[in-house]
């Protein structure tokens, strides 16, 4: 027997977030994109709604959401902010605070998580480097024990939220090599506050989601205390995937929200816009892609919530790591591509306006494009699914 509905609390939360976003977020999206900043008062307002780091234990300021509930918030933010800046802020922090909360030390959590839940700090993720993205085994950043401290050296790049951390405080859940001979088996995860001496931050320009920063940082002989180690030493590679999977599933929610909102914009437009004496919605050239996109995004949405449900089952010991990994990869593989295809057609229906900067759908298109890459490329998702279907002996890169 399958129960196939959200709980009353989840429906109420969805409604509450939708109302909050309609009043507080959507009217400010254009201003945010222009100023390239999420206004601090908006982040405070999210904190008041208890939307920051939502899965975290209430002891550290979180709300103790399950993954499905966190996904609902992601979907609603995806609908409301067509530049996906706030959704990225939300999902990156939600995913990595989730891992930090699960595996971090009490001292480090007490120090760094409550400011983030109050909107006074940001928690991000830093694994990517100039020379590596998916190929984590070849990263150059190292972490070395030195007495009761650890010393970190290296460089991270294409990291979300570097300016936000500089502005508000906080840091990044970071992965580095500790045992240099052990490849992915020698990696350690730790929390790196970016305000420490020896960290030099740079910012990049991106094609979309411009209100949240992306950049990198050089790390030169930076000392962190032992309490900042997340999980066991040299076991970071295993737990980093929990964060990635959480983030990938929320990304799929954001894509569903953005695509559905864009289709709704499109439906309104094609019913009102006339060409050759009738509404363009009367033409099958418009109707057929609309039906296909709506169907595809609806299926994606249902499967995305299944993936989130499996993440919740895994927390209860009722689903295996590998099952979760495969299901999330199936969702992440297509979410951005299908959302982009839907948004692309909505832009096309709107003619020249679809390509105009005033058109929300073009911003959504640029934003969603990032999700074919972020938190694991769509190609890596195929590798994961194939690995689970064929067995580890068929892994391409071994």
């Amino acid at each position: 027997m399958i129960t196939y509905e959200f709980s009353e609390e989840q429906e109420m939360l969805r409604q509450s977030v939708r109302e909050w976003a309609a009043k507080n977020l959507t009217p400010r999206v254009q201003e945010m994109e222009k100023n390239k900043e999420i206004p601090p008062d908006l982040i405070k307002s999210m904190a008041k709604m208890e939307l920051l780091c939502p899965t975290v234990d209430p002891e550290y300021g979180g709300s103790g959401f399950d993954a499905v509930t966190a996904g609902i918030v992601g979907e609603e933010l995806g609908r409301a902010d067509y530049t996906a800046s706030v959704p990225v802020f939300y999902l990156v922090q939600a995913s990595w605070a989730h891992v930090f909360d699960k595996y971090g030390t009490r001292e480090c959590k007490l120090k760094h998580i409550p400011p983030a839940t109050k909107g006074d700090a940001f928690i991000g993720i830093a694994t990517t480097e100039p020379g590596i993205g998916s190929d984590l085994a070849n990263m150059v950043t190292t972490i070395t024990p030195n007495g009761d401290k650890y010393v970190v050296n290296g460089e991270k790049n294409y990291i979300s939220g570097v300016r936000e951390v500089k502005q508000y405080g906080g840091g990044h859940v970071t992965l580095a090599r500790q045992n240099l001979r052990a490849g992915t088996r020698g990696m350690t995860m730790f929390f790196l506050p970016l305000g420490l001496p020896g960290i030099d931050i740079t910012e990049d320009e991106e094609m979309g989601r411009e209100a949240i920063s992306t950049g990198g940082f050089h790390i030169s002989n930076v000392e962190i205390p032992k309490e900042n180690i997340i999980g066991k030493e040299e076991k970071g590679f295993y737990i980093v995937h929990e964060g990635y999977e959480f983030a990938r599933a929320i990304i799929a929610c954001v894509c569903c929200g953005a695509a559905m909102k864009s289709l709704e914009n499109g439906i309104k437009y094609i019913k009102e816009r006339n060409a050759f004496g009738r509404a363009i919605a009367k033409y099958e050239g418009i109707q057929f892609p609309l039906a296909e996109h709506y169907t595809r995004i609806s299926m994606l949405r249902d499967f995305t919530y299944k993936a989130l449900h499996m993440i919740d089952l895994e927390q209860e010991g009722k689903a295996s790591r590998m099952e979760v990994s495969k299901t999330v990869a199936m969702v992440k593989m297509f979410c951005a591509t299908w959302a982009m295809q839907a948004i692309d057609d909505v832009m096309q229906w709107q003619g020249a306006f679809g390509y105009n900067k005033e058109c929300p759908d073009q911003a959504a298109y640029r934003a969603v494009r990032s999700f074919t890459l972020a938190e694991g490329s769509k190609e890596i998702m195929k590798t994961i699914v194939a690995r689970e279907l064929l067995g580890k002996e068929f892994i391409t890169y071994r």
């Binding site: 109420m12 009043k23 208890e50 709300s63």
Partner: protein
């Protein structure tokens, strides 16, 4: 102190469509929300409850189909202490008179109350009648168009809107207020913890037998209103902006326009 906040679930649109064949509102496919005027009245009621201190209680009351539960759950998340939904097939088809009668009977069943907070009107019908009619059924003093309320013992000081501005009136409780928000009112959206708490608060559904009613005064049977026709008014054309260097010049121009149009 016992405060009753009346809330109604309405379609989430000001552009309500009318089924031309049946003359009724088309509700299918339109999400339902709490009437915005009622939310303001409720939030004012919660503020008064908090000001009254320990022992004060606010009960959210609604009449409607079982789906109206969601409006009451939101009322609980916004701070109501308990909620009652009046739901019974016998209540169906009620006009404002039958609705106000039913709500008044439910208030009667709650015992000695101090204050009833209603929205000025519901955005789906816009009659603004149900609150004042309840006051009549319950023989309570009423203040309409209330924008701001302060409490001093058993006396309420109410700032109410008028056609020309505001007036301040005092009323002794028990009383009924119909409320309308000031321009800068921002409705609250409940955070997650309030939603979780709402689920744990008392919620009841009452049928006709619970509130000691006269069956002839309920629902369609108890509704004297005869709806002759319901229709969407034709959309108004574009307005005209008159501009000038002084108020006198614009007034002169306006006079000419009205005279030419045969209005004056």
């Amino acid at each position: 102190m016992l405060i009753i906040a009346c809330v109604k679930q309405v379609p989430d649109t000001s552009d309500v469509k009318v089924d031309s064949a049946t003359g009724t509102l088309v509700r299918e496919g339109v999400p339902a929300v709490m009437n915005p005027f009622d939310q303001f009245a409720l939030e004012e009621g919660v503020r008064l409850r908090d000001a009254a201190g320990e022992g004060a209680e606010i009960v959210a009351l609604s009449m409607g189909p079982p789906q109206a539960r969601s409006a009451l759950m939101k009322a609980l998340a916004l701070g109501a202490d308990r909620a009652i939904l009046l739901t019974d097939r016998a209540f169906a088809g009620a006009d404002t008179w039958a609705t106000s009668y039913t709500l008044a009977r439910a208030v009667g069943a709650l015992g000695k109350i101090d204050l009833i907070m209603c929205g000025l009107q519901a955005v789906d019908g816009d009659t603004a009648q149900t609150g004042p009619e309840m006051a009549q059924h319950l023989r309570l003093p009423q203040v309409t168009y209330a924008e701001r309320v302060t409490l001093d013992g058993k006396t309420l000081t109410v700032k109410r809107q008028t056609d020309t501005g505001y007036e301040i009136v005092e009323v002794r409780m028990p009383a009924l207020l119909t409320c309308t928000p000031p321009a800068d009112f921002v409705p609250s959206t409940p955070p997650f913890s309030a939603i979780i708490k709402a689920k744990k608060k008392p919620y009841e559904e009452w049928g006709a037998e619970k509130i000691n009613t006269d069956a002839d005064k309920l629902g369609l049977k108890g509704s004297p209103t005869q709806v002759k026709r319901v229709f969407s008014p034709p959309k108004r054309g574009q307005g005209v902006m008159l501009e000038g260097n002084s108020a006198a010049a614009v007034a002169g121009e306006l006079f000419q326009v009205l005279a030419k149009g045969g209005v004056l």
